[in-house]
Assembly symmetry: C2
Homo-oligomer: 110 residues x 2
């Protein structure tokens, strides 16, 4: 069943919050980095050239939103993707953005 309209206010807040969680470049980069497999905070901080605290903070946000899973391994913590729909979301937006850009360039050249 499709979602009823209008959306109830609490669900509305949740949906908006979910979009805002993904609406940060750093967090998208973290999701991209985790796309090919789990990684620890330190690994991600090194790959993305971010501070440990900042990366940990963003990972915490993604974890609390239910997008990532957290697993302790000794002193390390491994994060992994559990909500793969985020990639569908990103590709939908990417596709639409490229469509907009091509339309714009066509409008400029004609």
């Amino acid at each position: 069943m499709p979602v009823e309209h209008p959306l109830p206010e609490p669900l509305l807040e949740l949906v908006a919050y979910r979009f805002r969680v993904i609406g940060e470049p750093m967090r998208i980069r973290l999701l991209e980095a985790l796309r090919h497999g789990p990684a620890t905070v330190g690994q991600l901080a090194e790959i993305l050239s971010g501070t440990q605290q900042n990366v940990s903070k963003h990972l915490g946000v993604l974890h609390q939103a239910g997008i990532l899973s957290r697993q302790k391994q000794g002193t390390s913590v491994r994060y992994a993707i559990v909500d793969t729909t985020v990639f569908e979301l990103c590709e939908l937006v990417c596709g639409r953005l490229r469509q907009q850009l091509t339309e714009l360039s066509e409008a400029l050249t004609t």
Copy 2:
């Protein structure tokens, strides 16, 4: 072709910005209201119980992002959806949220 990884920084910013644009309850409500057809600023302000200025501001953001079209009709301005992918995005998130909630309630009852 799928988007290359890692995403280049400018595209990353655009994608993140697009998510942030949709990541506001008021704007989602505006999109929902426009789902069944175009409407003017005044109509939307009345339907959603918002001030004219605030509604106009949010509509401007959605228009600048290429999600809405703007058409003057006398003293009124009619906005309409041009990017229907926003609804796919919302339904993806809604579906995922409901799945999370059911999983959570199941985990609580067992």
